[in-house]
Amino acid sequence: MSTAVAGWLQAGLLVGALAVCYRPLGDYMAQIFTTDKPTNKPNKPNKHWWIERVMYRLIGVDADADQKWSTYLRGVLAFSAVSVLFLYGFQRLQEHLPLALGFPAVGADQAFNTAASFATNTNWQSYSGESTMGHLVQMAGLAVQNFVSAAVGIVVVIALIRGFIRSRTERVGNFWVDLTRACVRLLLPISVVFALVLVAGGVVDNFSAAHSVTTLAGQHQAITGGPVASQEAIKELGTNGGGFYNANSAHPFENPNPVTNLVEIFLLLVIGVSLTRTFGKMVGDKRQGYAILAVMAVIWVASVAAISFLESGRHSAAAVAAGGALEGKEVRFGIPASTLFTASTTLTSTGAVNNAHDSLSPLGGGLAILNMMLGEIAPGGTGSGLYGILVLAIVTVFVAGLMVGRTPEYLHKKIRPQEMKLASLYILTTPALVLIGTGVAIALKGEQAAIANPGPHGLSEILYAFTSTANNNGSAFAGLSVNTVWYNSVTGVVMLLGRFLPIVWVLALAGSLAAQRPVPTSAGTLATHQPLFIGMLLGVIILVVALTYFPAQALGPLAEGLR
């Protein structure tokens, strides 16, 4: 079978699997977050599961209370702040904990960076997992954040959707109920099933410490086992991306063969894709979800095709001999499975990698950066992708309103100046973090030493690092020594602000929309489920978001690729 056919077959299987799951999973998620009102009738089941009721009692939550958007937001922030501090302490006390495998406490700056990284769903790693973290910290610290940080993204978009469908209220749901349900009813069951699938596929799952083996060349090598499969499933499903091993999904213990590779790509896309169905179902017009899905699909297909084309090109003697740019790619996957993974991981907030992104062709690497710069909206991180594209949809109806002189509306809510202020803040926050961070890192002489490559590629390495951390992706370009106090501290702050400032704007937007009375559809209402709107939304994404970064792209990947 030729490489091209194998590539098309894998992409076809992936799209087919996503299509099969789209409706049932999307409807199920809508049902999770759209439960009936509380009932005291004995013959009707309580809407809360018993395990959920136990958890609510433990944390002292009134599960039947509805929260104002600002209370909901404060819940998100308080929970995340405690998560960061808890994870920080966990790493600092590692040497005193069981299953530490003899590893010392993680350094203070690296522990801060890692805590911020996992609590923000970024999973940027300035450490090698197999030589830094013991099993307990991996399981009870990092993996727990893989679940709850993904759940936070989901509940934020659910609150935004409620903002569209509720009227004349400040209340957008109960954060603690939503968070618990997202974990208990959605992420945990799917993760358990797919952990078993991955074990069947050859992913390791044990409590082994390092085994010392002698290689064929006579060298000694320490091979560490661990609870990998159980973390691999949520790593992809929750679009987290933090690898148990330093090589991430290029490591044969994490991703042994093309089948597990395809399963992992499926997992990192499935919730983001299906949430568009949830959105359509909850707003009572499934066509709205299909329109958003269409935009996501166009971007995803274009990105996969473009990166595959660039990596299959024969731009050098080595590439001609190998049949493509194979440096940094696993031969057991080949180019199609590597580029499919690269496009999918950077268009979501996953950040897992099965090949070295630093070894991508200059323009291929530039596209990976561009995918993140778009705000990871195709389909994006769990929840964060959908709320990102919904903000852009609001901007689109505003632009359309300016064109025809009508008051902009979206899903029966008027887009007034205060909604546009919040949408504008959302759009400006991440580019500010990326570009200021990159600029400062380049300006500081001490931090320039961290760059392994001179010229445009060196700029691309820094640009990638700040794009990845500010967008909560977490993948690394490599070639940049980020385990320094400066990089650990600054990227840690960038991850926190890049995650939670947009959440502040989005939940305020939810509150602002929920407070409005719905407006009836009129002749001046833009139909937001038709191809015209899909095309306009694509245009806004390219013009408003991508062009913001064009100068930085021009000085880095474009300059290198066109040289």
Partner: protein, 68 residues
């Protein structure tokens, strides 16, 4: 000492975020001042009926769980 610094840094970042929350609270306001189609251009003149009905919706919603 480094632990104190990084815990303080974490608290400082979340304090900034808390300030942002305060800022957007002023921007968003409350349902009683939210514009309806007929009052979109006069947000500073909520009528009594709107305020009362919004209060009713709010109190009812308080126990509405996660219902739509």
């Amino acid at each position: 000492m480094p632990d104190v610094a990084f815990v303080a840094l974490t608290i400082a970042v979340f304090a900034v975020l808390a300030l942002a929350v305060r800022g957007v609270e002023h921007l968003v306001g409350s349902p009683s001042t939210a514009a309806s189609p007929s009052t979109a251009s006069t947000p500073a003149s909520p009528n009594a009926t709107t305020v009362r009905s919004a209060a009713r919706v709010g109190s009812a919603d308080t126990r509405a769980g996660v219902a739509r």
